[in-house]
């Protein structure tokens, strides 16, 4: 394979940087052997040579920010754990990946579970925890199998258990399968669920760092955040900071899905744009153009083709009026009805609302009623303001971000596609043919 002599800005070799995904194409990439062949557990050795406080400072200095949606600095979360308080400390890894469009942690855990386990050991050493949990959504049994196996291997090799690598660190790791509830991706609902209760968010403060699992100091981190830590330790914080921007340093997994030529996982420095990702991967499916997309799952306000050059980092996406979220780039082309898309997302939020807070429980229900009417051609113009009004009464008025997430598609779709809503009302129905949006719509032959 020859490379072009000069790499231009769209060359994937220059724009992409596989770290967590670097060896997913190798046989048995999920095993300890392959992981060690790729310098696995080397970061842990460096971490154990530091004092826990220095380790926290190091991760803080690296600038790593949470990859689960909120973007909170990971090292700072660790630092909030009170030390010398005499209580057990816990690390809980949020592997409840359920945000519509989000599909990064599941392939990561399937292909490279040891990066998470190594990160867990490092984090537990830092926060002085001797028991960690992986809360994996239940609906992904293939991943659960690999986690069971990876944890078994890690115990057998002395990376878990007592006196890890002679450091004096003892650590027990429990893999816990959830049972189907989007809300459990919210960190306090996750903790309630892990305590054997209905997954309902808690009022904060107190924050989990003070009173989390069993009312003890607890760090809750996303899978990708923790899995990124070993590489930072092994290759250095300067290396990490050499990617991305000052406030959003490092690499991350972008998940491209929908009407694109090549849906999949793309690991790149923070700040890459959707245009760059599409340019390198074949663009939208042939003959179609981008209509709307989400930068980080359905809870992040949608973008249009005006936003193709927005840098996909925390600041860039925020400045453009949305959130980086989980970097779930769901792309829809001009065949897609935005009212249909938003109606379906709203049905999801109504279904998944835990029912604790009235604005979210009732508001999502009424949004669904209005949207279904509009989609079916039974809406009236005043419904559009009513949608905005109800969304406004949910947004920011519930314990957790599920309600805010439900409001996002409403606000943003009305902002960019109000005319399309109006068309449904004046035209007494949906002007789109759903058959044209399917994956097989343009296929001349199906070799199935």
């Amino acid at each position: 394979m020859t490379l072009a002599p000069e790499l231009n800005e769209t060359s994937p070799e220059k724009l992409l940087v596989p770290v967590l995904s670097a060896f997913w194409d190798e046989d048995e990439s999920w095993t300890l052997d392959v992981y060690r062949r790729h310098e696995g557990y080397e970061g842990l050795r460096k971490a154990l040579a530091m004092s826990p406080d220095d380790l926290i400072a190091y991760v803080k200095d690296s600038g790593l920010r949470g990859r689960g949606g909120a973007g909170f600095p990971t090292g700072m979360k660790w630092q909030f754990i009170p030390q010398g308080d005499g209580k057990p400390h816990y690390l809980v890894v949020n592997a409840d990946e359920s945000e519509p469009g989000t599909c990064k942690d599941i392939p990561l855990l399937f292909a490279n579970p040891h990066s998470l386990i190594e990160g867990i050991v490092i984090a537990c050493y830092a926060i002085r925890s001797s028991h960690a949990f992986i809360y994996l959504r239940g609906e992904v049994v293939p991943v659960l199998r690999r986690l069971h196996e990876a944890v078994r291997e890690a115990y057998a090799a002395g990376y878990l258990g007592e006196n890890i690598l002679g450091s004096g660190l003892d650590l027990q790791l429990t893999v816990h399968a959830g049972a189907g509830a989007y809300i459990c991706g919210e960190e306090t609902a996750l903790l309630d669920s892990l305590e054997g209760r209905r997954g309902q968010p808690r009022l904060r403060p107190p924050f989990p760092a003070v009173a989390g699992l069993y009312a003890c100091p607890t760090v809750v981190n996303n899978v990708e955040s923790i899995a990124s830590v070993p590489a930072i330790l092994h290759k250095g914080k300067e290396w990490f900071r050499s990617m991305g921007s000052e406030k959003s340093p490092g690499f991350t997994l972008y998940s491209l899905s929908g009407h694109v030529a090549s849906p999949g996982q793309y690991e790149a420095p923070l700040g890459i744009t959707l245009r760059q990702l599409l340019d390198m991967s074949g663009g939208m499916r042939p003959g179609h153009r981008l209509k709307f997309w989400t930068p980080g799952g359905s809870s992040t306000p949608m973008f249009t083709d005006e936003h193709l050059d927005v840098p996909l980092d925390y600041e860039g996406v925020g400045a453009a009026g949305s959130m980086l979220g989980t970097k779930a780039l769901q792309c829809f082309d001009e065949t897609t009805c935005v009212v249909r898309a938003v109606t379906r997302w709203t049905e999801f939020y109504a279904h998944e609302s835990c029912g604790k807070c009235t604005p979210c429980r009732e508001g999502t229900y009424w949004l669904v009623q209005l949207l279904r009417d509009i989609e079916a051609g039974k809406g009236v113009m005043s419904d559009l303001d009513k949608l905005n009004d109800i969304a406004d009464n949910i947004n920011g008025k519930s314990f957790c971000a599920l309600g805010d997430g439900a409001a996002s598609p409403i606000f943003s779709s009305l902002k960019y596609f109000r005319e399309e809503y109006e068309q449904h009302i004046t035209g007494r129905g949906c002007p789109f043919d759903p058959a044209k949006s399917t994956a097989w719509a343009d296929r001349t032959e199906v070799n199935a």
Binding site: T2, L16, P18, R146, G258, S262, R344
Partner: protein, 258 residues
Amino acid sequence: MTTTPEGVSLGMPQLPAPAYPDDVRARLEADAREIIARYPDSRSALLPLLHLVQSEEGHVTRTGQQFCANMLGLTTAEVAAVATFYSMYRRKPSGDYQVGVCTNTLCAVMGGDAIFAALQDHLGVGNGETTDDGKVTLEHIECNAACDFAPVVMVNWEFFDNQTVDSAKRLVDDLREGAQVEPTRGAPLCTFKDTARILAGFPDEREGAVEAGGSAGPASLIGLRLAKGETQPARVVHPRGEDPQNERPSGPAAEEGE
């Protein structure tokens, strides 16, 4: 979403649920003690224990709830409150194979709605209903974190990626005929009860189960291949039954790589 709540009765209170037969109870108690030992606080074992009782009976029965309550020192009301909150716990007898079609926005648009409608028609059952032979329970599910493989169908929580109406129909036909069915990512299918036992935290002991499906699905590797300078793959579509390994973009790479 418009289903009526089940088991609602305003008449006489129900009698306590019958206990498991002694041999079953003894076996489940040993499993339950192992689960409880994983947690600093026994109540944390409730979700896995509900998976465990589901692995015994295929759904969460009143007997199962009573068992969980006894093991954890909870009331049956406390257990029922949890069992009815989570969508993976089935509340009535259901099929050996739970077939879930993702109809969240992205999969729905990409064909999930068409697949779900076709399967309802093909099987003659509605959402949450089971075929007469007790083999297949059909439902629509929410986003299952495989959007780059849309449209996605899950069977007993194994991935069937890039489905079409035809491939999904063949899939349920195979399930009803008892053919061994292999997912695109995941291990050869076991029954819903066996799956529930894995979810309770007992590793799948079947030979080759962990390895099955390879390291990563084709879509998971697209960015990596581009970063390595391998030529961009053709549109990745692998209907069920074809080996995803064969669809790695070796052909186009050889042609254009020079």
